[in-house]
Point group: C2
Chain length 255, copies 2
Amino acid sequence: MCELLGMSASVPTDISFSFSGLIRRGGETGPHKDGWGIAFYDGKGCRTFHDPVASAESPLATFIADYAIKSEIVISHIRRANRGRVALENTHPFIREMWGRYWCFAHNGQLSGVKTLPLSAYRPVGTTDSEHAFCWMLSQLRARWDKMPTDRQLHAAIAEMAASLSRHGVFNMLLSDSRSLFCHRGTHLVWITRRAPFRAATLLDEDVTVDFAKHTSPSDVVTIVATRPLTGDETWSPLPKGALVAFRDGQMHER
Amino acid sequence: MCELLGMSASVPTDISFSFSGLIRRGGETGPHKDGWGIAFYDGKGCRTFHDPVASAESPLATFIADYAIKSEIVISHIRRANRGRVALENTHPFIREMWGRYWCFAHNGQLSGVKTLPLSAYRPVGTTDSEHAFCWMLSQLRARWDKMPTDRQLHAAIAEMAASLSRHGVFNMLLSDSRSLFCHRGTHLVWITRRAPFRAATLLDEDVTVDFAKHTSPSDVVTIVATRPLTGDETWSPLPKGALVAFRDGQMHER
């Protein structure tokens, strides 16, 4: 299995605090030591960082945690390999361009028989079931629409495909098109929205406390999604099981 | 204008020495201060690092120069913006998946009227003429072949498109499909192949000397391609003008 971390924020926000906690679970407080990756959107741009080594021992992970890249949408993943060997090409998140936007995807779970799903416009480079599922979703979307459909159409199509993939096994997913953070909880995915009045919070995996009031403006809204809670003194809620939830600008996005 | 740096090597090799010299030209010994990027192939995997700031002042660039990622193929670019604003999405190298492989592209020069070239399977996310040219090339290749053609067919098709793009202006290009490093010199592109007996070399942009004999095995072959020579005590040769040259495993690849 693996662990996921996602963020949707109303203003460019750095995810250093949450990411610092997550990377401890990659070989130190957790067994997810087979690589890690993180994607930061900056408007339409997206930059990813991947390292096929344990995040708790990766100098690059420590550097990124300190570099404090500000972003409106972040997707991160620490991997414990089950399908597909430990290799750079099997390290999430995966990224593709569709309709002139970067799409980014990370998955937790195992999907049986997913590699029989047909592909057209997008093909995997590595050998994971996850990347195949991502390429199948994009191939389906691209075959259906030559340009970005409406929010409602897009949400419905992704929800339908996520439900379909869930029938192959465990499908916890984070996906973004540079505007929305789409989340699907198969088994494990919790979330929290931080907004004024901001308080302090302490990581579960590291003895670090941050007072968000010192790092935010009163109008900021920041939602964090993760496989398991990252802090012990805040209330994380499970996402609705089997439903697709989209966050935009830090808030749950009503279609 | 911008500067390019590429590497093709017979064994995973770190490009720290050359990259350290290049990044000085991004705001210190050269004016290319509008962002930088680098892509490292590791087998079929490819990871890229982008920062839309001057490389000479980028802590990420310094980190990457020290991190000594070993790779068989590297493409790097420092940018001086002329078409397209300074933004993450306009920072080279650009990357796309085609035929189950990652394709990576960086360009130096300006291309007039290139945005009228038709696109199909691939579309730009940013606003540079470079990314449009890349998406046009991939769209053409993808429309022609549904899977990887022969080396000879691929080389001929890319050569033809590079010649066509050159008619729009200055087209110095580095491109890779994870196997070959394709180079097209419009105006400026020099190369050097290092092989046994290895010697020492000194950077032009920084007072750094490396003795390659200490960092290599006798069978290693490493080719470096750059806009301008990076060292002052080696003989760099211009690539043939207007021709497409491919390097594989460090050596010029005869089709």
